[in-house]
Subunit: 252 residues, 2 copies
């Protein structure tokens, strides 16, 4: 009887992303892996679900020791499809990433990587998102792998509190070794958008979304601070948008 854990892997950078391959290589040490990935890059897709068009799922043949499905859906669709239609038992862990680019602070709300993780947590499936502060397609992930293994093993062993999942971010590879792990809060930072206006060959204007990151949060217990100090940041996250301190104060 097979007692290896069942681990679902997804991401938002597409099925050929280097970070995804690195994540699968770690997960194959820990359990039986099923990759449910999108057939297109899904960065910035947040918690979007596909309801205007039908979803399609293609089983992919590979000889790499894990099952693979490719969908036309978002990362959240992938988690829903995995849970409902593709697996014959509940997964023991869902992991997403390794994202090329930070999902710390405000980035979580735009992130397809973290959309998948939050969706898993709704049904009480332990879930972890892993992201690296390096957008480069050939980014160096080597320094993250021992931490990914350690954190995932721990979650497989002990689980996570009900409704809680983990947003794990790693500093970009540097000469200085990682100092350790800090469990911290989400920093209050934001993107100030800066659209780039261009003109197409038919003389029509179009825009590319861009922006610069502004962190005005000087507290010492934030993910941005931990990452700045070369720690791995872990934010335990949940889905509750309520601004609780104002529930009793506002009236209309």
């Amino acid at each position: 009887m097979n007692k290896r854990p069942l681990i679902v892997v997804t991401n938002d950078d597409g099925y050929s992303a280097k970070g995804l391959k690195e994540l699968i290589s770690v997960m194959m040490k820990l359990g039986d892996v099923v990759l449910v990935g999108s057939d297109q890059p899904m960065s910035g897709m947040a918690h979007a679900v596909t309801i205007q068009t039908p979803l399609r799922v293609t089983p992919i043949s590979n000889e790499m020791g894990f099952k693979e499905y490719r969908t036309n859906g978002t990362p959240v669709d992938n988690v829903k499809l995995a849970k409902h239609s593709l697996l014959n038992k509940a997964p023991d862990l869902i992991v997403s990433g390794i994202n090329h680019g930070s999902n710390a602070s405000i980035n979580i709300i735009y992130s397809g990587t973290m959309g998948a993780v939050l969706e898993a947590s709704i049904d009480g499936i332990p879930a972890i998102g892993f992201s690296l502060m390096d957008y480069h397609p050939e980014a160096e992930f080597g320094h993250t792998l021992e931490y990914i293994e350690r954190i995932s093993k721990r979650v497989l062993k002990d689980g996570l509190p009900k409704g809680v999942s983990l947003n794990v971010n790693f500093p970009k590879k540097s000469d200085e070794p990682i100092k350790g792990i800090k469990v911290v809060r989400q920093a209050e930072a934001r993107w100030v958008e800066d659209f780039e206006e261009r003109t197409d060959p038919f003389m029509r204007k179009y825009y590319w979304l861009g922006g610069h990151f502004v962190n005005g949060d000087n507290r010492h217990d934030t993910d941005e601070k931990a990452l700045h100090d070369n720690f791995v940041s872990i934010v335990p996250v949940q889905i509750d948008f309520t601004a609780h301190e104002y529930v009793g104060k506002l009236n209309f």
Copy 2:
């Protein structure tokens, strides 16, 4: 000199939705209205931003007393475009809706309507999402309009706390009059997905995302309870996914 407030309106049901027209009619009483809408329905698009394709904006001629722009973006893109590129001053209020369908409890995280509202709050612009518990394209909105006017006037006058916006939901029209407004917390409810599997004319399988709503939250101070009791629910919302009670407890 024009001292009327500048109000940006958007939604996720498309530019021809009845709920959008109702919302514009109320806002035109309160200020100068600019509609920045998507050229396609964007339900379920959550906090998605468009980064794989360029954004386009088309000014629309109408003789209805408000400015109108139509984009190929998401509701969050619309707010970003309005702030950055389409207005020559900061708006005094951004409203989104009136959504055809509830955005109470867990629905907020899937909602394009609320994506726009949360995005506005990142930059400190007062923002309100209005949603009706009735998906029908010809839903009756008449009972919501006095409340929308009252809540919007109040926010225009007093503003909202930093980083906080409002998720306002209305019961479906019934014979019983609305009992009033309750300021409450987001209920812990969820969707249990139930994909409908079909076969296309080319014998290929496809799926439609469906599901049923499960509310296991019996507390008396939730949005679902207020709506069930025929009150308007208002949840003050903010973007902080941190599960604060576990920040000091978890270690790895």
